[in-house]
Symmetry: D2
Subunit: 358 residues, 4 copies
């Protein structure tokens, strides 16, 4: 009841972090869409670990196979099934932990819910579960691109270091050249320094990602329970470790007044626009043609290289150090995940929009 | 496609702000639940306007009729249908506005989506659409109470005035005695002063609500796309004017380290507990038995008593002053709405939990 | 979990047969559709009882009120909420029956499911629950008419009397002039004679309805689980007392051979057609542009004017005669219900079709 | 929008008949259920082709791999992902047919819907798409068995030869020893003779399957749109080539009277039972504790070894003989498919039942 997402464009996923393979089914894609597999490989590559000092040293190949729904590089309209092989599956990394409730992990809650005898890290609580999401989101991006809608995200904050500029004044092309996906060279360097210090301390940290959706026409989204922001929020909180979401003016709007917060309508280049965009491109749950943008906050990785005390399944107090190959900060690797979930929401909403377009 | 909410406990709503009546259908309620109608009236009363200087002077009676699904004060298990009469419907208030795209309202986006010839304020973009939600949420609360789960919310911030205390140190009983639903007398007074000033200026402001869910057992919620926080986030962003949502440590977690953020497990009174609750009662999308708590940020009311320029449907620039009877700040009135949406999510998730309980 | 129907065009209904009112919400209708209320009244009138010797003598006014979603006779795009008043509610008719499990009624199964203390006849098991469906289906019909799709049904069999002609050789205009909605005068008369005899015996009988959907373009419907016939079948078995459904060649196809059953493609008036239509207008779950037609079988009304033995809630054997005002045969009154459910399926499928049309 | 089935127990499937692999994801299975893989292999084996003269000579190995959701032979509660390898994929069989609209196939409707350039036989219209369904249904059967619910089906009719006995007088153990899955030796032999004759003529035929669900407690199912029979009907019409469905007394009930059709309640072995079972174990959409039984009619295989005329994509009349390796009659092979779809419906409905059980 938890592994299917979307209304018209429906993604179902499966996979344990330490099983043979993960995968998914993307149902409801438009037919005759050209699929660029190289681009999908690039998206998968962006999420992969093992290349930076602050990421898990676990080597994931994330090699995927598209098994149906695509012929001669075009979608058939049928469900797109795919698997992602778990080359690096090493469940021995978790040996000795199955019995522990690691702090701020899902071990205890999975145990309470499922009563299974293994660590939640081996099950669906792993961040790897988002590899299929990135692949499906990559297909959704290609579908959206055809209608002129594009999506990008970048790292705005890591731990105590943050980029205090609106997204409109950053250089989108600089994102991927930063190891932490922060497009400001100076801030990016400070972030790397902070991460080195945190690594030395055997600790971890969190961060904030900003995501921008451009080119969405006015009229996409629905009133009340399917507001565009409600679907985006649900999508973002599906991602592990997300603790906050705000769009447009977000939390800061609470302290503003109507007269300063309202976005005046203007005519620009013969098109209706707003002079400011506190609304974040959405009014009444429906896109207004301006950029849609939002922030997503991530908590620190709970697995740290310091001794921690906790309780095991026999209610004994135990001391342990996290094994496995954990990230110091997975926020940079979460950038393509944020984009993928956004793409799935937008493609789904766009299809719904088409059903009612004249 | 936007007026049905929930999986097992399903709420469908209808109503235009200025039509004859609003209403809803709550399907999937457990049978033989005693319904306290007085308590439902009290919830409706809490959302009503017309009693405070900072609320719309529109007199809503919000008289409701339960039409099915309840016999002899007990649920039958069938759908609970209800209507709420629109005594104060005065669509003339909007005369002359139908042609305008009011700034930061849904006029333009509704026009782009539906091409209707009337102001969005007369349609589903009105906050009144949440009257049926409060009624249904009241029933969900009574269902949850039977399982020991309770929900309350209070105002943490109005405009620039905020209450900087954790929810654990406030007096829950003081909430309803404050006109702005802020349980700290001193801060509540400051908020009222601010609102008076803003009213004098013909302006409006936003705020932040904190909501707390107590008594939820461990194991409620689902992994990945139906994480408890994802469902709560979707529910909150369904509410008009919500711009931000964070649970537990929220946005502040981004700057923390794993060693300070992790919630150590302890044994207390023979029960597994966490020493701190940065997790906000949810780990891996599933409740851990601690309080679930979150903040919801609201933007300022867009309707203000100042002259504003905007564009009309003929692309002409026009100047106008908002008519109608608008709130200076609807955050205090949004408290029961936040509780109601939370109750619907929790009751739905709890039913799902029961399907898999042994 | 049982009172919401459809994906894009979603109908939620409520109502107990003997409560104050019934009603529903139709969400997802296209905006700016002209609504002919007279036509809706006509549809409601067709389902009503009390006019024929073989129908329940209960006088239902079935007066409805449209409460939202329609302004100036056009849909706004928002949910259409409506109530239908229960003028004839007389729950005393059921006095003394609450304790009985009437044979082939839902009394026992409702009791097993809900544990409620009243007869199922007062709850959702009543056929009156389909009054809201007929209203909503009437709106769906008007939506379909705009795209050239029309729907009609007629009575093919009542008890042992049946009309053994293909639908293509009947006169559609003669349906409503027959009291039993059978377009063949001779057969219609024989049906009336049979019903008189059955009434005299204090008994009841069943029948078969044929429904025809014309004008549906090729390409509507989906493979596998949302095949057009699967959605129509679910819709028909939602109707009380339906025991069988077959489309196109139906059950008789089992005995045929491929060479006689296959529908050859031909070109006719410059359009691709099939020479025969055993396929019933659907191939692989998707419409092929030919008429969609199907049969729906109804069991006899279980309430009869003869003494029956049964068991009560205390496991005692009791003898009783059905009270209330039951039909001898409700098949003629089920004709508009079959049409309405078909219209809801077709309008929903057609919207889905539009989402993917170029 | 067509490849996901179920509410709580949700099956998503993918696969083209002639692609690399098919597969599925079964989400919502209870945790800690012991899975017997040998039994799953047996179910898959039952659906396989290539063993009988009347089945396609295509050799399918239908080797499956369970990729997630099962550890140490027990379900984890997470989604069960699996693939089924297409050893025999030979898309050359379809060479020359891509351009044709074969009569009573889905070629034309798939073309109208998707505009793809290949034969529908290569896409989702193939019966092989039900291999994943049989696997998932096998898991659902094991889940149901744990609650005492069992399901079996048999062939009642092939072409003009039919078994005219109630299911209660057949020997369930004789089903699998008949090559056509008809438990009556005499009728089974006659069916085989008929099939030999039809094969010689290069023709094909249809048939009828009876399915029986035993051990379901009273109270499973929901009123109105989710009636148990409505969900079963939808499930059956999802299966390719199904043209009719009837449960209990089915179509024959139309000619009966209430006094003969009603099932009297009795007390037997201290349990409430019905003396007859025309109701087919369901009253008001909810199980009554008796056997649930129904018939499913299949049309003849459209692919025959005779010359047929048809139209191609260029609107030319062409003559052709079906290539590929088609069945003369696939009804015997559809028996496990009918059981599997029934198992998915019952397991889903049973979980829903548990959500509301006290």
């Amino acid at each position: 009841m938890s592994n299917v997402f979307g209304n018209l464009l429906k993604l179902s996923i499966f996979g344990d972090s330490h099983g043979k393979a993960m995968g998914g089914i993307l149902d409801g894609c438009i037919p005759n869409l050209s699929i660029d597999e190289k681009q999908l490989e690039y998206e998968m590559q962006r999420r992969k670990s093992g290349t930076d000092f602050f990421s898990s040293s676990r080597k994931e190949t994330d090699r995927f196979e598209l098994l149906s729904g695509i012929r001669n590089r075009k979608t058939t309209g049928g469900p797109i099934g795919f698997v992602i092989h778990n080359a690096a599956a090493k469940s021995e990394d978790y040996n000795g932990l199955d019995n522990l409730f690691r702090p701020s992990h899902a071990d205890f809650t999975y145990y309470a819910k499922y009563g299974t005898t293994e660590s939640a890290g081996k099950l669906q609580a792993s961040g790897r579960i988002f590899a299929p999401v990135v692949l499906a989101g990559g297909i959704a991006k290609q579908m959206l691109a055809q209608s002129g809608i594009s999506i990008y995200a970048f790292v705005r904050q890591i731990g105590t270091v943050s980029l205090d500029k609106p997204y409109t004044s950053i250089d989108q092309k600089a994102i991927e050249s930063s190891p932490v996906r922060c497009p400001d060279k100076h801030i990016s360097d400070k972030m790397l320094q902070l991460l080195k210090k945190i690594k030395k301390e055997g600790d971890s940290t969190g961060g904030i990602i900003t995501c921008v959706i451009s080119g969405c026409p006015a009229g996409v989204g629905d009133p009340v329970f399917d507001k565009l922001q409600a679907k985006l929020a649900q999508a973002m909180f599906s991602i592990n470790a997300v603790k906050g979401f705000e769009y447009g003016s977000g939390f800061s709007s609470a302290a503003m007044t109507g007269s300063t917060h309202n976005d005046p309508f203007i005519i620009k280049h013969n098109r209706l626009r707003t002079a400011t965009n506190h609304s974040g491109g959405i009014q009444g749950g429906i896109s207004n043609g301006e950029d849609i943008y939002f922030n997503v906050a991530f908590k620190p990785v709970p697995g740290i290289q310091q001794k921690q005390k906790t309780i095991d399944r026999n209610a004994h107090t135990v001391e342990f150090v996290t094994g496995g190959k954990h990230d110091i900060c997975f926020v940079p690797r979460a950038v393509p995940v944020v984009e993928a979930m956004s793409a799935l929401v937008m493609a789904d909403s766009f299809l719904m929009h088409l059903a009612y377009a004249e």
